[in-house]
Symmetry: C2
């Protein structure tokens, strides 16, 4: 349990390097492709994520958005302020709970969806994967994220 058995530590480090690099490179490559595809919409990748949930719900609290895109208010507040400045959303405090802020699509923000419809196919084409493979990738990444999030702040020390 505490000895590698199959590999010396040095090779572990090498494998880790390869996985780190692959993950890091894939993430930034994806970001780059999205950046290019989103340029004409005037959106960044994280802004696109937020718009995607708003196109499905039209109106959500900051907390509601945060739960769906897994971002906290420290990231969302300035991002939403920029989306508001761009005219895509409106923000106003909720009447029934003055702590909460309701974010709602403007007409313009809702209309932007039409221009976004072509984006997913471009991305899919860039990956060179078909729908089934994309679905499989999504599954694997989702399962991985769930497992990694579950580890949380503890653990990690319990295996050395």
């Amino acid at each position: 349990m505490e000895t590698p058995d199959t590999l010396p530590e040095g090779d572990f480090l090498r494998l880790d390097r390869q996985i780190c690099f692959s993950l890091h490179a894939a993430t930034r490559a994806f970001n780059g492709v999205y950046r290019e595809a989103l340029k004409e919409l005037g959106l960044t990748y994280p802004q696109y994520l937020v718009m995607l949930v708003l196109w499905e719900h039209r109106e959500l609290s900051v907390k509601g958005i945060g739960e769906r895109v897994r971002l906290d208010s420290g990231t969302l507040s300035p991002l939403l302020k920029r989306l508001e400045a761009a005219g895509h959303v409106e923000r106003r405090r909720s009447p029934e709970d003055e702590r909460s802020v309701t974010v709602r699509l403007t007409e313009e923000g809702a209309a932007l969806r039409e221009k976004a419809l072509g984006v997913p196919r471009r991305i899919a084409a860039a990956t060179g994967l078909d729908l089934a493979e994309l679905g499989d990738l999504r599954e694997r990444l989702h399962a991985l994220a769930v497992r990694l999030d579950a580890v949380g702040p503890d653990d990690l020390s319990g295996c050395a």
Copy 2:
């Protein structure tokens, strides 16, 4: 080739949302686990990437590091300055080419490798994947990154 055939655009947008979210969530979950594991080393994840290549080469130019970790000088310059301030590396201009800066591990930086040896196994444990699955993941991510990078700045418009 230019029509979806299998899915209307709206479902494409939904699938894209799911893939976006999975990718984004998995990336940040990975970062979180590494952040935790690297805390005792006093390294961030990108700093760890740089140290990994230096542990293999001992001495590299900024350009050489950039090629290996796929980062430009705009990101590396301040990062390396911080690694230098932490005492892990030295930087000095190359004698034979005054444009180039050579980055070399200090004794302390080289010694840090010993403390890093336990990191990969912790990460692997957190993912819940075995060595074969990790290798497979690495392969897929690498292939994907290569394909996405190959698309480059052009294309993307040629499929709409």
